[in-house]
């Protein structure tokens, strides 16, 4: 495995797991926001 390929796998990992992690935090926040809207 050359350096280009290692770098590519690192970016695949960041993009895949990173975006899912951000989305999980987003879901936590959005629950609060939707509650606020439902109260309105």
């Amino acid at each position: 495995m050359n350096n280009w390929e290692i770098f590519t796998w690192i970016t695949v990992f960041i993009l895949g797991f990173g975006s899912v992690a951000v989305f999980i935090f987003f879901v936590k926040d959005i629950k609060e926001i939707l509650k606020k809207f439902n109260k309105k």
């Binding site: 495995m1 050359n2 280009w4 390929e5 770098f7 590519t8 690192i10 970016t11 695949v12 990992f13 960041i14 993009l15 895949g16 990173g18 975006s19 899912v20 951000v22 989305f23 935090f25 987003f26 936590k28 926040d29 959005i30 926001i33 809207f37 309105k40």
Partner: protein, 485 residues
């Protein structure tokens, strides 16, 4: 055209229905204009990351980056994408805090505070033109054709129409929420695509063997002047209306800073994978797996259709649609805000109520969509239009905003008006002149005109218009004898 399974169509249909559902859910829930336009200034870090990334990554990046990756290799990432991250860092640590300190709602708000109403209107016109969704609608035409086999106009009307509906009804809340769903879809699907593409071409080592060594040269074989221009397009981040809107909509400065710093890693990964997938497409062409005449800007889409299995392909297509929808909705909303908040309210109805502003913003969104559609079907050559729209923003509002922000003694009305006005006018005139009097070069994929014995490309216009804007600014500073704002 390759086989697309029923499951792929079902996934796409579910995705599109979901987007409309979000917009309709928010339709009657806005209490005031700030809630409609800035989501009540309550965006947290995760929401900022998702909406920033999905907005900036439109079809131009997906196809623009991949086109360069397909024809030139890794230089697409090193020279075109990478400099942008430096500008994001500047924005995170130097710009966002200052912008967040004031209670601005739009980019022209800043110009109004520093230089007065006249400059506000020039900024509003610039921002409106820049935000017209012509490129996004053109992209929908292309996607409809490649993915669904539709006529381009049908793709623009149906796919662009869905993004229009949820933006009109749901405002910024709908945009931010749909952006978040679109964000995870586009990122995960792209990450997932890499192993499939490698399987198609026989692995990464095959790519290194088959491609010319210049494909792995970090500066490729592009001219230094073109690299400087590509790199400087990243400057637009510093005065980007949708970027500013997200800063204003954030809960606090810390949320913006954290979102940008985390976002850079995701942006970088996204750009890199697109570049590698485009290079894999080139290998597939050399190997004969893909047709030899595949268009460079359609290479990414074509290799994915060839590499991905049923179901995954539907997700990928929904991801590609997401990429474009999240861009179109954000720009339409900003353009609508320019009409209502930056022109209608100060010029015609200073006492407009929030409900009137929301209504006028919706009219503005519709207007921008219609104008963007007219442009998308009128221009055969979209690259020139893209260059025009990017150069107009940098040449008009960058100097007055940044200089006014950091040097309060420069905030003189004449300086702002001359700089923004002459920057705007010179960019429009020069672009039209080169596109009508120049010759389109298929090799360089741009308009070229002969000036003083040199081939002057349309991309080089900023080398003239930015100095015009800067010089006009300092002329205004010298000749305006009044006190700074």
């Amino acid at each position: 055209m390759h086989e697309i399974a029923t499951i792929d169509y079902i996934i796409i249909a579910l995705y599109l229905a979901g987007m409309i559902g979000v917009g309709l859910w928010f339709a009657k829930k806005h209490t005031d204009f700030e809630d409609f336009f800035l989501a009540g200034r309550s965006l947290t870090t995760p929401l900022l990351i998702t909406t920033l990334i999905s907005t900036y990554y439109g079809i131009d990046v997906l196809f623009g980056d991949s086109q360069l990756g397909f024809t030139n290799g890794v230089v697409a990432w090193f020279a075109y994408a990478r400099p942008t991250y430096a500008f994001f860092l500047i924005a995170a640590f130097l710009l966002a805090r200052r912008l967040k300190e004031e209670n601005f709602k739009t980019l022209p708000d800043i110009l109004d505070k520093y230089y007065g109403k006249k400059t506000r209107y020039v900024g509003a016109v610039t921002s409106f033109i820049y935000s017209l969704p012509a490129l996004s609608l053109y992209g929908f035409g292309m996607l409809g054709e490649v993915i669904l086999g539709w006529e381009p106009i049908l793709g623009m009307l149906v796919l662009g129409g869905i993004a229009l509906i949820y933006t009109l009804t749901g405002g910024f809340w709908a945009v931010a929420l749909t952006d978040s769903i679109q964000f995870v879809l586009m990122c995960v699907v792209l990450a997932m695509a890499f192993p499939f593409a490698m399987k198609l071409i026989g692995g990464f080592d095959t790519m290194v063997e088959v491609l010319e060594p210049s494909y792995f040269d970090t500066m490729g074989d592009l001219s230094i002047w073109l690299i400087i221009i590509y790199a400087s397009t990243g400057l637009s981040i510093l005065v980007e209306p949708t970027f500013y809107q997200r800063i204003f909509a954030a809960k606090s400065y810390k949320n913006v800073r954290n979102a940008l710093v985390i976002g850079i890693f995701i942006w970088g990964s996204y750009d890199w994978i697109i570049t590698i997938l485009a290079m894999a497409a080139k290998v597939a062409v050399i190997q004969g797996t893909l047709p030899f005449d595949v268009a460079p800007d359609a290479a990414l889409l074509t290799v994915m259709v060839a590499a991905l299995p049923a179901g995954a392909l539907g997700l990928f297509m929904a991801g590609v649609l997401s990429t474009e929808m999240s861009t179109l909705d954000s720009y339409c909303l900003v353009a609508g805000g320019n009409v209502a908040y930056d022109i209608y309210k100060p010029a015609f109805k200073p006492d407009a109520t929030d409900q009137e502003l929301i209504k006028t913003t919706r009219h503005g969104i519709l207007l921008s969509w219609v104008l963007g559609f007219a442009m998308a079907i009128s221009f055969d050559q979209m690259l020139g239009l893209w260059v025009f729209m990017a150069s107009i923003l940098i040449s008009s509002v960058m100097a007055p905003i940044l200089l006014g922000m950091y040097v309060p003694s420069f905030r003189k009305p004449l300086a702002g008006f001359l700089s923004a006005g002459l920057g705007l006018v010179s960019t429009v005139i020069l672009n039209i002149y080169i596109m009508t009097q120049g010759v389109y070069s298929a090799e360089e994929e741009t308009f070229i005109i002969q000036w003083f014995g040199i081939d002057f490309m349309q991309e080089f216009i900023m080398y003239i218009t930015v100095p015009i804007s800067l010089i006009s600014f300092f002329v205004g500073v010298v000749f305006d004898k009044g006190e700074p704002s």
